[in-house]
């Protein structure tokens, strides 16, 4: 059994002090294996966003351990955290978070630039990543010239361009219409089929249904953990996609 990509034990996160204390996470323990496609569902305030930010090393937990690809993230200093975010994690935001007035290509190149990849190699890999999300012809467009779905696919390309161990997506379809949602989900299905590890959070059942594994979060605790299809199979929803092989 290979070591899990992601392994958290007794993760808690407390906001505020005194009477205003909020336990956003009240002891979450889970592990995700390589190649898995996990959807975390929960209502608003269930702590799923907090969990995602901690998994993405954007926030630090109050207590508990977090191992990412065998590395204890809670012990890393700022400099090493930056490295972990760059090499191990690809993060996709609900609000896309592309750098404004900067072309799609330059946005996708950005993590590679911080990784110290040479300009020529960077360009090649960024174009390849845009090819994967089907936007190679929009490389020179700036974010405000792209539709929401296209922007999110650029963000996906940016997240996967560094070949990270883990792709994290925080409500990736939350700001999209149903057509764009389908586009983005197809990209995820395809990535999962090619062996990528994906963890996303959502409150839309049709998004959760397509994952291989579904985790439900209520009040900062895992209440349900369902395996919908095997890790080494293609995701259930991929069969109906336009990229069916």
């Amino acid at each position: 059994m290979p070591r899990p990509v992601l392994d958290v034990r007794d993760l808690t996160k407390v906001y505020g002090t005194g009477e205003a204390t909020v336990h956003a996470l009240a002891g979450v323990t889970m592990s995700v294996d390589r190649g898995d496609y996990v959807a975390i569902m929960g209502s608003s305030g269930s702590g799923k966003s907090t969990l995602m930010n901690i998994l993405g090393a954007l926030d630090v937990p109050t207590a508990g351990s977090y191992h990412l690809d065998g590395v204890d993230v809670s012990k890393l200093v700022d400099r090493q955290l930056a490295l972990a975010r760059n090499r191990l994690i690809g993060f996709i935001f609900q609000a896309f978070n592309l750098i404004p007035r900067t072309t799609a290509l330059a946005n996708v190149e950005l993590p590679l630039a911080y990784a110290g990849v040479k300009a020529k190699e960077r360009r090649r890999r960024a174009l390849a990543a845009l090819e994967v999300v089907g936007l190679a012809d929009r490389a020179k467009h700036e974010p405000n010239q792209l539709s929401g779905g296209q922007q999110q696919r650029v963000a996906v390309a940016r997240a996967l361009v560094t070949e990270p161990a883990l792709l994290l997506a925080d409500e990736p379809t939350g700001n999209l219409d149903s057509h764009s949602t389908a586009d983005v989900l197809e990209v995820f299905d395809e990535l999962s089929a090619s062996g990528r590890t994906i963890v996303l959070i959502t409150h839309e059942p049709e998004v959760g249904d397509r994952a291989k594994r579904l985790i439900r979060l209520v009040d900062g605790r895992i209440v349900e953990d369902i395996r919908q299809s095997a890790v080494d199979q293609i995701p259930v929803g991929a069969a109906t996609g336009r990229h069916t092989r």
Binding site: L58, D59, A84, R87, F93, I99, A113, Y114, G116, T162
Partner: protein, 410 residues
Amino acid sequence: MSLYEVIRFALRGLSANKLRSALTMLGILIGVAAVILLVAVGNGSAKAISDRIEALGTNTITVMSTGRGGTTSTALTVPIANALVDPALAPDVASVSPVVTASSSTMTYEGTEHSVSSFVGTTPSWFAASNTPVGTGASFTTDDEAQGRRVVVIGQTVSEELFPGVDPIDKQVTVGGALFTVIGVLSEKSSTGFQDANDTAIAPLSAVREVLTGYGSLNSILVEAKSPDKVDAVQSEVATILNQRLKVSATASTTSRTGGNTSSTPYRIQNASQLLATQTETADTFTTLLGAVAAISLLVGGIGITNIMLVTVTERTREIGIRKALGAPRRVILTQFLIEATLLSVLGGALGVAAALIGSSFEIVGVKPVIVPSSIGLALGVSIAIGLFFGGLPASRAARLRPIDALRYE
């Protein structure tokens, strides 16, 4: 990640917000240019004042009567002026020129009229003593003065008004009903204050007294010292002679006429080098004052730069959050923003210096600005320091935030 890459990032960041970058640079430009120009104008006017005083001649003193009524006993007369030429009592005096001035006398040539603002009657030695060289033609001679010949040397303005495109030499002009022959034209002279120094005419003392002013008292006596460092000696020699000549009647008349006046002498001696010293002090005060104004405008400009830098970085806190989430180390983010701030302040400052240098080649409110090099350094230094500090400080604060806090920043 190499420094070259970071510089490219900074350039991309600046060009992605062209309008904001341009406005920031404009703010710095105006701040720097205002300070440099303001100091240059102050310095230029101080320099202009001292130039004018030096043009009056620094080795002369002017004796003027303080008597308002002009009683014959206290008035300056030709005999008094002649008495100042005394090798025994006044060995340092080079020349003495009695001066009468007729203000606003009308000069006519072939139907063209011109009102000369200062029509001076004096002796030939006046030209050298008052630093007023004749440009074309000649000045009158001692003989002309002794004979009372009606000849006149006119200033540039008079020449242009009465003889446009004509050589004025040997032409006849009418002044106060008498004909004068123009024998020379003065060289162009820089104006001393509000009056046009070139709107003047110089004629022999005897002729002017006969035709225009009458045989009353003199307006002033111009005494030339043998060298500039003898001016103080000449002043005391002249005072001694004048006190002798005017003593008796002077004491009587001053007590009756000027009650509380501390000056008991009926004349006043104006010393050009003293005047220069006083004016230099005044000019220094003036420069200090303008320096204070400049410092205030630099402060205001600095607050403008601070404001723009703070807004720029605050607005981009979210972008900093995105960059951190993508794995940018704090050092790289900080370097990028510092380079952006440096480029903005240095470019803006350099353009400001250029604008000030261009602006200083024009006359501003009648003053030719003279750039003070240290003001360039000060203005540039302060604006760059402010730009760096207030560009760098919020950037380093944002770079230290946890990415999630920077991303949530509104």
